[in-house]
Assembly symmetry: D2
Amino acid sequence: MSNVADWWKTAIIDMEPGRIELRGHPIQDLIGHLSFPEMIWLMVRGDKPTPAQARLFEVALVSAVDHGPQAPSIAAARMAVTCGLPLNNAMASAVNMLGDVHGGAGEQAVELFHHIEAHPAGLDIALNDWISEHGKIIPGFGHRFHTPTDPRAPRLMELVHEAIEAGACEGRYLQIAQRVEAEIAHRKSRPIPMNIDGATAVIFAELGFAPPLARGLFCLSRSVGILAHAWEQIQQGGRNKGPIPPGYLWTYIGD
Amino acid sequence: MSNVADWWKTAIIDMEPGRIELRGHPIQDLIGHLSFPEMIWLMVRGDKPTPAQARLFEVALVSAVDHGPQAPSIAAARMAVTCGLPLNNAMASAVNMLGDVHGGAGEQAVELFHHIEAHPAGLDIALNDWISEHGKIIPGFGHRFHTPTDPRAPRLMELVHEAIEAGACEGRYLQIAQRVEAEIAHRKSRPIPMNIDGATAVIFAELGFAPPLARGLFCLSRSVGILAHAWEQIQQGGRNKGPIPPGYLWTYIGD
Amino acid sequence: MSNVADWWKTAIIDMEPGRIELRGHPIQDLIGHLSFPEMIWLMVRGDKPTPAQARLFEVALVSAVDHGPQAPSIAAARMAVTCGLPLNNAMASAVNMLGDVHGGAGEQAVELFHHIEAHPAGLDIALNDWISEHGKIIPGFGHRFHTPTDPRAPRLMELVHEAIEAGACEGRYLQIAQRVEAEIAHRKSRPIPMNIDGATAVIFAELGFAPPLARGLFCLSRSVGILAHAWEQIQQGGRNKGPIPPGYLWTYIGD
Amino acid sequence: MSNVADWWKTAIIDMEPGRIELRGHPIQDLIGHLSFPEMIWLMVRGDKPTPAQARLFEVALVSAVDHGPQAPSIAAARMAVTCGLPLNNAMASAVNMLGDVHGGAGEQAVELFHHIEAHPAGLDIALNDWISEHGKIIPGFGHRFHTPTDPRAPRLMELVHEAIEAGACEGRYLQIAQRVEAEIAHRKSRPIPMNIDGATAVIFAELGFAPPLARGLFCLSRSVGILAHAWEQIQQGGRNKGPIPPGYLWTYIGD
């Protein structure tokens, strides 16, 4: 019979009636003593961050909460509530869209930094190898809207520098990211600055999060904006709100 | 042409190349200065909480992060990754399940508290009216597993008391909830104590969040556990993991 | 131990290695002998339709496959693939949006027809009772785009008449729907004709499907259009395609 | 302004008030004249199948509707309704799980057949190349439950033979699949027969569907079983039904 109880196994939570322990800590000892970012870290990794680590982790979570209703995810959340969906379903519809192209860039950027770190040759060859395998879009750099600079990235890099001084991290991935940024600028003869995905990827890599968690943590962060927009749309009302105003429909391109 | 740009309207975010403002604040002024819970509050409501409000808000977010793989949402997240889904899709699959019965109890509990507050007659009649409209399950009270007491609720109520002393809230909904708890105990001749949904509903009601936001904020909180479990399952591996071990299948109840 | 195998119970499928039976029929006896609509009917209801019932059922499924990218669901599917989601996730994102307001109108229309059928008073009072409980939008009638007439509804009603002659159904709900249509026209002094949701609701009600299945079967039908649009968008390409062209963004309505 | 109406482009649907054309056909001319599988084909591909093609296409759709509540997708649908989700959200939760490992095997099998077809060397080397790139699991062959034989596959292959005789297809991919089956049996010294994913992949490849559509069409097919199980679970009732019976919980594997 033990195989039934063994079917699901977790080191995250232990429980019996009247007792809940998360990562080995009674929940009543965590509530009121851990900040929300510290709780996120504890749940995902099993240990508690130092105060300096927690501070750096928190700024990454704060920085990516929203980029407006032009993002497919936010638009989806707003459309969903006009279809009558409650907030949980609207949020799910939106988070679902944070895929390889939308929310996955941070994950890819961490992978890129690891790839460069582990590559036996220099940056130039490492970058070429990456491009030949993954295509010419370098994850974490450049922004189609924010030219020349995504305002979130330099602010986050300031805070990475502070975190290095405070002992939260070593700066290894910051250096890699800066070298990538310089190399791309050199190749393109114009700056292609680090964007929000690159900046948060530096932080998550510095703090030792595996690449997929860069995407997972971005989902947590963007869920905040998703919730805010879905709730605002509920208050605005609207029924079956399509992407563009009703007068426009679409272009028929059949024969 | 203005109707196209008018089709989506928001007071949450304003943007032009190189500039992002959230609720009227340049994002670089928020990053590093606002905690993650303060950012959530700002995004959803438009203003910043006081420190005492932020502290109370944070404990509600911390308290509801996980209740184990027996919850359909967590099980869904874990099964999803064994189907090959990346974290965003696994998280969406799980958050989607936080519906009326699973994640909606907090929303219903806030509605119950508002209903009692606004009811012209006493608690007894107000509760009967609620039951005749919504059925006999009183949202926010009783727990099928945690008997006699859900350990999260008394800890949260301690912190509500501290928050009242610190001026974060008035205690109106705490009193209502305590009166409901006493009334149910009287009717059932045994304690049916406040559960996590009731406790967080007290907090969200005290802080002035509308009922649907109790569900939305629960989704943010539980997303943490969902992410942690999905990531743990990725590390454990498994392909197409069903709900129960392969040897059991199901019971066929056809003719 | 039996309670484990008893936890999931179904009359739909029975299975052992090398044997699959659906609703009591070995699957190899169904493949090639049942049409896809007959299989849908068998799976959902447990019995097989008569040929006349199958024909009427099929036209309802065929009629609702698509209404273009202005529908939030179709837009969501198309945006989803530009976020890098594969077809299953794109389809899920879209089907999720077929909520109370978008895909639920057929369910509500069947409920309305049942309500009128069961109401002890005449149509006039039955309709007023419905409106006082559910609001002034009568599900299944009127269309904000197709004025004066949704071309699908009269065609479907022709086929309902043929089905009555062929013995597939009695026409009870067709009559109710026609009386509702006449009553609304009388009240509004202009025609508010039956729409696709009303027309398919007539068919599903005539064939004895419970109201929630009107929504579920609509989801099956619209999944066809969702798949077609998602696939077309994959072929068109695009990355992170927002709802409106990049030049428009949105209107900021904050202070 | 034209770029707004140009933002969404489709050859699938053309529309103005009172007129809906799908793939160039007025919808009222399709309803009652096209079978549901013919409509699916028309929507996805733009042309109509021959009767023999439609018959072969239909058996693939019929064959994959369900494989029971042990499948994560079906379990998710059943759990979702016990969380209070209506059918659209339950169906979405389930379809979302038909990912690379669960619903994507058919897509991979079509890719495998195309890979072998296009490979300049013989089957042996082509298969080795596939394995070195994608791993040792050959999509479309072998079944962890149905030993020795998945009953759906031989029945579908019978119908492929009939379809070749009827001129629906040429049999090129049937031959490739049979050669793969023989090669794997030779390598493993025991039969690893074609499964449902391999069998439907043969059909979809024979009919000229691109690999991703094998997944998309599987989603349509399995949506039928998902709907049936979700509806059965609604009728059975249950609140917050977890994956295994409440008495078992899970195994805590923390320190």
